[in-house]
């Protein structure tokens, strides 16, 4: 069994990458299973997806607690406890992180366990496609390489999955080419096939009766959305050029997070701690006053 866990942010294509890997394995004659976990979907929020590959029917379902390979689409997720990237990772887990840092640098910075590989997929996507996002095929190809799948099945799987999403043939072809370059750029990491992890007996603790103040679901703490920063969700940020802004307020009206305010001079102001980087404001801006900038650690802290 090969158990691969993908971590990404809503909109980055972790689910599609898990499907590309599943389909490629299926095309090679393996039994495959892939599934995402999401619920209240929000662009930028942490999502996870899982692919299992085996020669026999797969009897596991749902989340992968002890992955053989973890693929991280967004390096900032490693620091986000809600994303649970580190769960079940130990020194024998293979880990891939989409990052401009080389593996040693990244590992030193995060003390991430496991055998790490990195590649700056976002930068490659920007250069090849000239636009943000669109890294699902690249992620899928890298994962395919790391678990030892063939080039050809990855190519075919990308075609099938991206066609399913309704992408044009030319776009699919460019994705295939770029994805296979990423495939070749990553050295294969032989996955550990050692003895299965021992099953640790669990300590059951059946809850006893507690007063309804605790025993019914509810929130009595004051609203905390004002103090909750979602800056970590951004891979890209909108940046305003006030000289080009005509004060139409379309960005203000379309921001789903209320992260854009209007200043007394009638021009918008972006409140970055609440901006999750959906870039809807950029889409609707009629004068190109809003532009996209790749998020960096330094900018995120600003």
């Amino acid at each position: 069994m090969r158990a691969v866990r993908f971590h990404g942010r809503g909109g980055q294509g972790a689910k599609t990458a898990s499907r590309i890997l599943g389909t490629a394995a299926f095309l090679e004659g393996f039994v495959a299973q892939d599934s995402p976990i999401y619920g209240a979907e929000r662009r930028g929020a942490p999502v996870a997806a899982f692919t299992r590959i085996d020669t026999l029917p797969i009897k596991q379902r749902g989340a992968i607690v002890h992955p053989d390979l973890v693929v991280v689409a967004d390096a900032s997720l490693v620091q986000d406890p809600a994303a649970r990237v580190l769960e079940g990772i130990d020194e024998r887990t293979a880990v891939f992180v989409n990052s401009p840092l080389i593996a040693e640098q990244f590992q030193a910075k995060t003390s991430l366990p496991g055998r790490l590989t990195t590649l700056d997929l976002t930068d490659i996507a920007l250069q090849q496609f000239g636009k943000r996002g669109a890294i699902s095929a690249l992620l899928g190809a890298v994962a395919g390489r790391l678990v030892g799948l063939q080039r050809e099945s990855i190519r075919e799987a990308i075609a099938r999955e991206l066609a399913d999403l309704g992408l044009a043939a030319a776009v699919i072809e460019r994705n295939q080419t770029t994805a296979l370059q990423c495939y070749d750029a990553v050295p294969a990491v032989p996955l550990e096939t050692g003895s299965p992890r021992p099953i640790v007996p669990v300590l059951l603790r059946t809850p006893t009766y507690e007063p309804p103040t605790r025993g019914t679901a509810g929130i009595t703490a004051g609203p905390n959305s004002a103090i909750r920063s979602v800056a970590g969700w951004r891979t890209f940020r909108p940046v305003l050029r006030p000289d080009l802004c005509n004060g139409c307020w379309l960005c203000f009206a379309n921001c789903p997070e209320g992260a854009i305010a209007i200043k007394p001079d009638g021009k918008p102001a972006i409140y970055y701690p609440h901006c999750k980087g959906c870039l809807d404001c950029v889409e609707v801006c009629p004068t190109d006053a809003l532009t996209v900038e790749r998020e960096t650690e330094a900018a995120r802290e600003a």
Partner: protein, 413 residues
């Protein structure tokens, strides 16, 4: 004949079941995690891939009413819902079962409010167990397609004429892709010919009344009992359908499925998608020399009492893993298993009740180990246990952390 194999989610498999059954009418109302089913059918009706009338309704209550009424005209009807949507349709479930209309309703299990979640357990579908619908519970995406085809065959049999609910778990099947073999449409046609109802045929030119008032009780009792007998007939009709289905496409589905039961001392009873994980846990325990097996209940209405008794005869201990909770009682299926074994001379020495997987909570290998150990001890003692909620120390601590965040930190309320 040709059967094609491809990767497919449980939801897509459900849509394919309806397409292969060549349904005529799909009244729809979307709800997570079922939405992909009706979206797919809507698309197919739009492109002509499926020659059916697709109508978006204002609610599940209307959806179920429309489904029953259309089936009463002799149309082959498919619809799907989930969780609170099934509950919203509840009044009509009993009504259309009383009309004896053979439609198929897919329920994608999702735990009920409140609190709210999107992940599955079986309190939604089991709430409908007394509605008169037959219930088939699928473990895999493959079984979803195959069960929908079998469901129409059973529903439309003149000895049955009842609606059937095919259940699949949200997330663990609905959004999970795995290889599914799609039967050749010609094979399906041989197994499930066009529907020619004898007792239905509601149309404008020949008005009739269904579900008429019958006061005084005696007439009502007769019709309700007919409903019961029709459901019981489905035990035999299911078997016939299973034989034919296997002959045509090579896959066999019985009322209950035994896994490594032959020499099993202790038996774990499960349903639905988590039964896959149960089978894996049995494999692990077997490798350690424990004589354990699993019994999966595939059909829950009609209740396959004889098959259950037969499978459990002479076992040391039986554990029922209920992925549901009846407050004030415990596991729903545990009660039914216990009732079925009461008169058995060779009944197991101990019955154990476990409640697990509520709201989609994972069942770890460690929890299965705990189940097998506690069940074996109960078998040795000759005294059952439960209901035991499967909840770990670590989960309790995580829950406490969330409670802390959710409550006013200053007053500590």
């Amino acid at each position: 004949m040709n059967q094609t194999n491809q990767m497919m989610t449980g939801n897509l498999a459900a849509a394919w079941g309806a397409r292969l059954a060549d349904v005529d009418y799909v009244p729809a109302f979307p709800i997570t995690p079922q939405t992909e089913i009706v979206e797919t059918l809507s698309k197919w009706c739009g492109t002509g891939a499926l020659n059916a009338r697709f109508v978006t309704m204002d609610s599940e209550h209307s959806m179920m009413t429309a489904a029953g009424a259309a089936a009463a005209t002799g149309a082959r009807v498919f619809t799907a819902t989930s969780s609170q949507g099934l509950l919203h349709a509840f009044e009509v479930l009993y009504t259309v079962a009383g009309w004896r209309v053979p439609l198929v309703l897919v329920n994608v299990s999702r735990a009920l409010a409140s609190p709210i979640t999107l992940e599955p357990d079986h309190n939604d579908v089991l709430a409908a167990r007394d509605s008169g619908f037959l219930q088939i519970h699928a473990e895999t995406c493959q079984e979803i397609v195959d069960s929908i085809l079998m469901a129409y065959r059973i529903a439309e049999d003149p000895r049955v004429c009842l609606p059937v609910m095919v259940n699949l778990d949200g997330f663990y099947l609905s959004f999970t892709r795995e290889p599914v073999i799609l039967p050749d449409p010609r094979m399906v046609q041989a197994f499930l010919p066009a529907y020619r109802p004898t007792h239905l045929g509601f149309k404008a030119s020949s008005p009739r009344a269904l579900g008429t008032a019958v006061l005084g009780g005696a007439t009502y009792s007769y019709f309700r009992h007919q409903n019961h007998l029709a459901s019981m007939n489905a035990l035999l009709v299911h078997e016939e359908a299973a034989v034919d289905f296997e002959r045509l496409c090579g896959r066999r589905y019985d009322l209950v499925e035994g896994y490594r039961l032959d020499d099993a001392e202790d038996v774990l009873i499960m349903t639905n998608a988590f039964a896959s994980k149960g089978k894996a846990a049995v494999d692990v325990a077997r490798a350690e020399g424990k004589r354990v097996g699993l019994l999966r209940l595939r059909v829950i209405r009609p209740w396959p009492a004889d098959a259950i008794r037969h499978a459990l005869q002479g076992r040391r201990a039986v554990a029922v893993l209920d992925q549901n909770l009846s407050p004030g009682q415990g596991g729903i299926l545990f009660q039914e298993i216990a009732a079925s074994l009461y008169h058995e001379a060779l009944r197991p020495r101990a019955l154990c009740s476990f409640i697990g997987g509520l709201g989609g909570k994972n069942l770890s290998e460690g929890e299965f180990r705990a189940i097998f150990e506690q069940t074996a001890e109960a078998g040795v003692r000759g005294k059952g246990i439960g209901p035991v909620l499967l909840y770990t120390e670590m989960e309790y601590r995580e829950m406490e952390q969330l409670q802390y965040l959710a409550h006013d930190l200053k007053t500590g309320k």
